[in-house]
Symmetry: C2
Subunit: 222 residues, 2 copies
């Protein structure tokens, strides 16, 4: 018997495809900050009409990746050092909130998944591609987000992470930081398992702070 449920929801609106294409182009740097996004040009390049392009650009705006001005169009958002600092500052606060809630609400299954994810992450370091490692690291933190049981918090944290997407490789690629990364993750698992809220908050604060330092150091922009 075949699984026919497989093809359910396989349909993707063009606007979604365009959105992901443009988003990736921005995050990879193919579309540079300050660059003007012109609807007809993009429509021709991607072989669609202006309509899905417009809708995708609007979605990019809400993610903070482009800035739109009425009658002027959209430009790829310049990210200033100040913006990054702001984002990271909010992120630390909300990550602390997330681990605190996770301490209270996490179940045994999630703890197991956390440990498994962490083990896999350790095995990948030095072997797999950086983006795969970065994805595994995201998975780890996603489990914690989920254990917070607060959907709005999860949504905001995902959005903040999105803002930092361009820089997420920086931290992973420095081999000297791997020891710290693994150590912090393990401390975090222990703290959450012991429901030690203060310890968990401390560890996550340091963890994000390390990322912050790396990002700000490697930053060419002002």
């Amino acid at each position: 018997m075949h699984d026919f449920t497989m093809r359910i929801n396989e349909y993707l609106p063009l606007r979604e495809v365009v959105f992901h294409t443009l988003r990736d182009a921005i995050l990879r740097g193919e579309l540079e900050p300050g660059e003007h996004l012109m609807e007809v040009q993009l429509a021709n390049k991607l072989g669609v009409s202006r309509t899905p392009i417009r809708e995708a650009i609007r979605q990019l705006q809400t993610e903070g990746l482009v800035i739109m001005t009425p009658r002027k169009g959209a430009v790829v958002a310049e990210i200033t050092r100040e913006d990054l600092t702001d984002v990271l500052e909010v992120r630390i606060t909300l990550e602390k909130m997330a681990v605190a809630l996770a301490c209270e609400n996490i179940n045994q299954d999630e703890i197991e998944r956390l440990k498994k994810s962490q083990q896999e992450l350790e095995n990948m370091l030095g072997n797999d591609k950086l983006t795969d490692i970065a994805n595994k690291d995201e998975e780890f933190h996603d489990i914690i987000y989920g254990a917070s049981r607060n959907k709005r918090l999860i949504q905001i944290l995902n959005n903040l992470r999105e803002q930092l997407y361009r820089y997420r490789i920086e931290y992973i690629k420095d081999e000297q930081k791997w020891v710290t990364l693994v150590e912090e993750h393990n401390l975090l698992i222990a703290a959450i398992e012991n429901k030690d809220i203060e310890e968990a908050k401390n560890v996550i604060r340091k963890h994000i702070d390390n990322q912050r330092k790396t990002i700000l150091e490697n930053l060419k922009i002002n």
Copy 2:
């Protein structure tokens, strides 16, 4: 000589007009949760084409006021008690962050504006329309947001407040709560002026918590 700079930026795209119209309709309850938003119908009613309607609906989606499903369209978001609890929980965390930052960064001018706004609010209680009072209360908190100097924080707080817009009158309309409201605002001003971060966080936590109780008590939905 006339001032021609006056008309600069006076232009508003139709999508913005439609967005505000629909948003107000949702917040007033004219468009009820679960109700289907149909593009042609709205376009006819508002006398515009489908294009600005579509773009407005997408914006409503990012504000969390409607839920869109591909090929199915948009429905006004049902707000569950759980959603509200989540929003308020995040809001308390971020309001605490905002007042803490405000303690560090606020300047004399802003303190004066805070006191002036508060004085005006007190004078309005019992005299002015509830929505005007609510707006004045927003102004008060906006000054504190601004003093945090964190643009991303301000943006997220504004969005969270948006989610609670439907219920903001509930708290204001109960005359018994006015004393508490005024008292808390004054305590908050004092704490910020003295740069007493812990006290400020405590006051704002109580302040939002009081709103939370009122909202959840008056809530008919599950």
